[in-house]
Subunit: 163 residues, 2 copies
């Protein structure tokens, strides 16, 4: 789907959601949605606030938080807590279900997909009678880059001791 089509599509979905829920269709809400779908990857409220400040629709943080709740409920946005206190978000349409690999060395977040997770979800659903809505799998560790840097430092340290 082309970017313009995606924007059009999520606009329609949000519009339907607001109408169905008895919420008002304010320009702020659609401007926020548009900006979110213009961002690549993850973002936090502060980044979104900064970007909105540079548009002609300069919304307040309070409105951002309110609107995020609506978008989460509408399933147009996903929320993450990658171990820090501040929440991270990402657009939910377009990109399918995926999980996250988090480097505890440099903080980099990579995405990956594994169909086996779906099997685990199904099992939980069956065994516990749980109605699964979504999941989050975070794999923590050290990325290849950081491992490499760490090795180089070790070598350098050895060289310094035994020149």
């Amino acid at each position: 789907m082309a970017p313009a089509d995606i924007q059009q599509n999520v606009h329609r979905l949000f519009s339907e959601y607001l109408e169905h829920g008895g919420h008002r269709k304010t320009p702020e809400r659609f401007a926020i949605l548009r900006e979110i779908y213009a961002v690549d990857g993850h973002f936090d409220i502060e980044l979104l606030y900064g970007r909105m400040q540079q548009t002609k629709c300069q919304v307040s943080r309070a409105t951002l938080y309110n609107t995020m709740d609506l978008l989460l409920d509408a399933r147009l946005v996903r929320k993450h807590q990658f171990g820090t206190t501040q929440a991270q978000f990402e657009k939910a349409q377009i990109r399918g279900q995926h999980d996250h690999v988090i480097c505890d060395g440099c903080g980099k977040v990579q995405e990956f997909c594994d169909p086996r997770i779906q099997n685990v979800r199904n099992t939980v659903s069956e065994v516990l009678g749980f109605r699964v809505s979504h999941h989050a799998l975070h794999i923590h560790g050290i990325c290849a880059d950081c491992q490499k840097k760490s090795n180089e430092r070790t070598k350098a340290a050895r060289a310094a001791v035994q020149p």
Copy 2:
């Protein structure tokens, strides 16, 4: 392992960790470790603070936070962010690797194990050259109890409309 043995074991592990890292072996640190291993399931800082207040070693919140960092580094405690801002913790020894099912209705957290996750970890490790240290799989949704309650409310509402 009997509870007393576990206490003895983690005490020893922490003692070794502190010694190796050049940290001091204060009574507060061991009292906190002991209290953590006396708690069942998950807890947050506030709950731990409350429990410590009732012992003869009444540590400050600052010391709790400091000590949690050490215990996390020593791998004697695990930290979780179950979607809320405040961090949840649990003891890391005894209980093996497990994952969490979180009810977004009542907030209840259940645990489960699924060996298939290990396969996913291995794949990430192989494909990305990532050195995996740990993971967290959170499955969100509505638990059986909340589904039941929701159904009852729907029935009651129907009965009220059509008596």
